[in-house]
């Protein structure tokens, strides 16, 4: 054993450099606490605390002993401890533990099966419910009804059922097709003026809002996972991970020229459930 004397660490701590660094640490720490109360900018607070912690690391480093490791046989790693091989043998030789483990695993399995059964038995609903009904008007986020004639090319990113603005799952994307008239499999009875169509805004892949409309290809596009839908052809998926079209909202015009839903969504909106 080289160089470790009783009190060696203490001796080194009393040298001038560690004392100085320790004083710096204390000063910076005081500055940090004062800074929190005096509302200093984040950069000043952060730098003071960083400096204090680094100074602490330096001081603590002075206590470090010179010998950190030695070479021994694996069995002699720590004097007084049982050799590893004995410990391993003892662990194998206690069948009680195995019984506990197996029992525990069995219990967990039974519990999990019960849970799964209860969940499956608790019944399933028919998907999320939206606020769309026959005669519900389409409104903007500000609650304004929308005239069919006022829908610009490209349309509105998001419209809502009147009375349920910002009801998340009822969001609808309203599109005036830019390059072509709507074609099957779009339900043509639900298209206004050959070009105005409305689809659920909830992506059928993972449920993100379908955020983008590309005018040159008339496609709707989900920014989360790049799912792409053909707005002119019933919003069937054309690229990406979505497997089903966006449900089309039955669209019509009331006596005053405002857009209105003529029914609820024909199919459940949102992602397919397992």
């Amino acid at each position: 054993m080289t160089g470790v004397r009783p009190g060696a660490a203490g001796d080194r701590l009393r040298r001038p450099v560690p004392v100085g660094v320790g004083a710096v640490a204390a000063a910076l720490l005081v500055a940090f606490v004062a800074g929190v109360f005096l509302d200093w900018p984040t950069s000043a607070l952060g730098l003071a605390l960083t400096g204090a912690l680094l100074a602490v690391a330096v001081v603590v480093g002075q206590v470090r002993g010179p010998v950190a490791r030695e070479l021994v046989w694996p069995d002699e790693r720590c004097p007084g401890d049982a050799p590893v091989a004995t410990a391993a043998a003892a662990a194998v030789a206690t069948p009680v533990r195995r019984r506990w483990v197996l029992g525990g695993l069995g219990g967990l399995g039974v519990g999990a099966l019960t849970g799964v059964g209860l969940l499956a038995w608790s019944g399933r609903d028919g998907g999320p419910v939206t606020a769309w009904r026959r005669g519900v008007h389409l409104v903007t986020a500000e609650g304004q009804r929308i005239r069919a004639a006022d829908v610009p090319v490209g349309g509105f990113g998001t419209v809502w059922p009147e009375g349920s603005v910002r009801a998340d799952l009822s969001a609808v994307v309203l599109v005036r097709l830019a390059t072509q008239e709507a074609q099957p499999p779009t339900v043509l009875d639900w298209v206004v003026g050959d070009r105005i169509v409305a689809y659920s805004k909830i992506c059928t892949h993972a449920g993100c809002p379908v955020g983008l409309y590309q005018e040159d290809t008339d496609s709707l596009f989900c920014p989360c996972h790049q799912a792409t839908f053909d707005a002119a052809r019933g919003a069937v998926p054309t690229f990406g991970p979505a497997s089903r079209p966006l449900p089309q909202l039955p669209l019509g015009v009331d006596g005053d020229g405002f857009l209105v839903a003529t029914d609820g969504f024909p199919t459940p909106i949102g992602p397919v459930r397992g």
């Binding site: 660490a9 607070l45 960083t50 690391a57 046989w73």
Partner: protein, 424 residues
């Protein structure tokens, strides 16, 4: 030098803190980061409100003055702008979460590559995998408490993945997330993040560390004795406490410095979640990229078998991660069948090159994970290289099939060559 002269230190410290190789410090770094997360997290709960009710923001951020904000987002803005030191506190919490997950992943990689999962340590390897899953869950629930624009999509994706599980998915998702409406989810995630998951992690961590001490840490082989036995490097115990304290101080300094220089997770300019709103650049934290990339890169699937509908979120969000985790879980069992070693040798930390098949397996896992992560950023890649997103996705799909086996073979060949140059 006789062994008896070494001043004894508590055995638990000698087993838990083994500074004979830098890679042995990854676990301790993760524990330090977790303690920092606990401490900063407790202070953050004093100011955070787990509610999505709209309130009028009356803090000092000019951008939101007088606007109606969800209470959760509003309280996060208040923490950043008006709580003394709050911005630094939030950033340290966020930076610590990144370091926490990174250190855990690298620690798991070290354990895999060095064969520290063999023999009796297999049990603890399983506990470690559970801890890794809990850490990812902690990260996901935490980042969604902010209730910014990303939260809406992130929560919806999480719900969709859970609901895609056949037979029980919808009920399970409703149980965990309290329903498909994003509004209902935040309060539930709050209790998961501040109570259930941290307590579960603490219990798992206690078991993990107790098992490390009782199984004993693996040791670095140094050279062979004249009779052919390995000599190993072990810390004597001298200066161990001060070294551990130094590591704590250095990790904390690193976190505070990083938080000072990098605006981790600042929300001021991101904006709150409002229904129907989606941004173009919405990404989860980096450690969720593999899952995000998996549901982006895998093709559209819609098959019904025995009343169970198999879709892309099920394949990419549930089955693929489960396959990766399952492979990591089963690997030690495979190795125990085909690569038997004596108990004494299992205590040695192996050089990876001496187990070429294991290196190939790790290369396979890492390649798949990295390619899936790239998939999550495919639109950014497309922007950078100026190619259509669809092309980038097709190329990544192809490499997902081709690259992992090729790189695994390359890794096997390289490791074998190295191990022949330097036989054990």
């Amino acid at each position: 030098m006789s062994v008896q002269e070494v001043p004894t230190r508590p055995r638990w410290l000698r087993e838990l803190f083994v500074p004979t190789h830098w890679s042995f410090l990854l676990g301790p770094v993760a524990v330090i980061a977790f303690v920092v997360l606990l401490l900063t997290g407790v202070v953050l709960t004093f100011f955070y409100q787990p509610s999505t009710e709209l309130v009028e923001y009356d803090g000092s951020a000019a951008l939101y003055a007088g606007r109606e904000l969800p209470a959760a987002f509003s309280s996060v803005v208040t923490i950043e702008e008006d709580v003394p030191g709050g911005l630094l506190l939030r950033r340290v919490h966020r930076a610590a979460s990144y370091l926490f997950v990174a250190a855990l992943l690298l620690h798991a990689l070290r354990v895999l590559l060095a064969g520290a999962f063999r023999g009796r340590r297999f049990v603890n390897y399983l506990v470690g995998l559970v801890l890794l899953a809990l850490a990812l869950a902690l990260g996901w629930t935490g980042q969604n408490l902010v209730y910014d624009v990303v939260t809406g999509s992130s929560v919806r994706i999480g719900y969709t993945i859970a609901a895609s599980i056949p037979y029980v998915g919808t009920e399970l998702a409703d149980l965990v997330f309290a329903g498909p409406d994003v509004d209902d989810v935040v309060a539930r995630l709050f209790w998961l993040h501040v109570l259930l998951l941290p307590v579960a992690f603490l219990l798992g961590l206690a078991a993990h560390l107790w098992l490390v001490v009782s199984h004993r840490h693996t040791v670095l082989p140094r050279r062979r004795d004249t009779d052919g036995r390995w000599l190993v490097a072990v810390p004597t115990g001298v200066g161990l406490r001060s070294r551990a304290a130094q590591l704590v101080a250095l990790v904390c300094a690193l976190l505070v410095l990083a938080a000072t220089l990098v605006p981790f997770g600042d929300v001021t300019h991101i904006g709150p979640f409002l229904p129907g709103v989606a941004g173009n650049d919405m990404y989860p934290d980096w450690y969720l990229f593999p899952m995000e990339g998996a549901i982006l890169l895998l093709p559209a699937v819609d098959v019904t078998v025995l009343g169970a509908t198999i879709t892309n979120p099920l394949l990419g969000g549930v089955l693929l991660p489960a396959a990766l985790g399952g492979a990591a879980l089963l690997w030690p069992l495979l190795e125990a069948l085909f690569r038997r070693r004596s108990p004494a040798e299992q205590d040695l930390s192996e050089h990876p090159f001496h187990a070429p098949v294991r290196v190939a397996f790790v290369a396979l896992l890492v390649t798949v994970t990295v390619l899936l992560s790239l998939g999550a950023a495919s639109d950014v890649i497309a922007q950078v290289i100026g190619a259509p997103v669809a092309t980038v996705i097709r190329v990544l799909r192809a490499s997902l099939v081709v690259a992992p086996p090729v790189l695994a073979l390359l890794a096997y060949w390289y490791a074998r060559r190295r191990s022949r140059q330097q036989p054990a």
